[in-house]
């Protein structure tokens, strides 16, 4: 029991799944919302782009390469959600440039990584074992992320089974929800 590695892994998982701060979870839902199990290759690229992005900035900020303005990051995160939701809503009727979307997700990953680092840095005070703690924390984030993607894919399959040909409706439903949640998160940050 009680290794630092286990603790940081758990904190990584709960940081994503925490219902008190659902911004990251909602972002992953938005990314995965337009895909099905059969599109796993494209989805894998999307999720990987996000992971690469947030791992880079989390590591750099956690290792004190640079400092970030917490307030700015907390404002940018809901904006990434809003844009992702709008892109997904556009996808329901128009072809979108896939490479551009991957690039966008990578950039959004960089922003979310800064958010993770604000939390991570609040946890770490003495800098010993920072690398292994960081690794465990990141691994926890990944585990939670995969769990969310899988859960959504299963729910989507069930939905598409009950209501075939309604994929568009499902995408609009999820992304509409994401849009408004993000709007509220943004308002909360700005009003504070």
């Amino acid at each position: 029991m009680g290794s630092a590695f286990g603790l940081y892994f758990e904190l990584g998982v709960t940081h994503i799944l925490d219902l008190q701060g659902i911004d990251h979870m909602v972002f992953i839902l938005a990314i995965a919302s337009t895909y099905r199990f059969t599109d796993w290759r494209k989805l894998l690229i999307m999720v990987t782009a996000f992971t690469v992005g947030h791992s880079v900035t989390l590591a750099l900020a956690a290792l004190d390469v640079f400092k970030v303005n917490e307030m700015l990051v907390e404002t940018l995160i809901p904006i990434t959600l809003i844009i992702t939701a709008l892109v997904n809503l556009g996808k329901t009727s128009q072809k979108v440039n896939r490479t551009a979307v991957y690039g966008l997700i990578l950039i959004f990953g960089l922003i979310h990584g800064l958010g993770f680092s604000n939390f991570f840095n609040a946890l770490m005070d003495d800098r010993q074992e920072v690398v292994s703690s960081l690794f465990a924390f990141n691994l926890g984030i990944e585990a939670a992320q995969i769990a969310i993607v899988l859960a959504l894919l299963v729910l989507s399959e069930i939905f598409d089974f009950i209501k075939p040909k309604a994929k568009k409706m499902r995408v609009i439903f999820i992304n509409g929800g994401v849009f408004f949640l993000a709007l509220q998160i943004l308002l909360d940050v700005v009003i504070d």
Partner: protein, 180 residues
Amino acid sequence: MKTDYLYFRVVTKITRHIVLALLLCLISPVLQSHPFHVSVAQVRYNQQNQSLEIALKLFTDDLENALTASFGNQGWNLATPKQLPAADQYVRKYLKPRFAVTQKSQSVNWNWVGAEYQMDAVWCYLELYNFDKNAGFEWKNTVFLEIFSDQKNIGHFEINNEKISVYTSRHKREQKIGIQ
């Protein structure tokens, strides 16, 4: 352009709902963005004094909120030149019921060593004598749980060259620490 027309229709439909949902957003205070509510305690056994030394890091703004919730606003101004002279007593009084080490079913008293007030964080130093380094103990840390439902209080322990890390939260207010 059939698809463009469809997208247009979807957008107008959504816009109609936006107004409604915006109103809903304004009246629902439920969702919060991610403020991080954590505290970190570094705990070491001091061989020389045979005591347990605790350095507890609390975020200054969280601490002020918690003190105000418990004792009313006394004009804390922590970590500023105008800091309330009796701040130490209040912090100590605040920690007293929230912070405890129990060993062999008996609460081990802690002594207040002092606090260091910094702009972002306040470090509280506590020391426990009569601590048996070879026995397990219960660690209770419920700091800020009464004001933040997502509060996590992390504890890093170094006793007999063994390192243990745990956290307490609303769901688990106490942790058993076993020493090998």
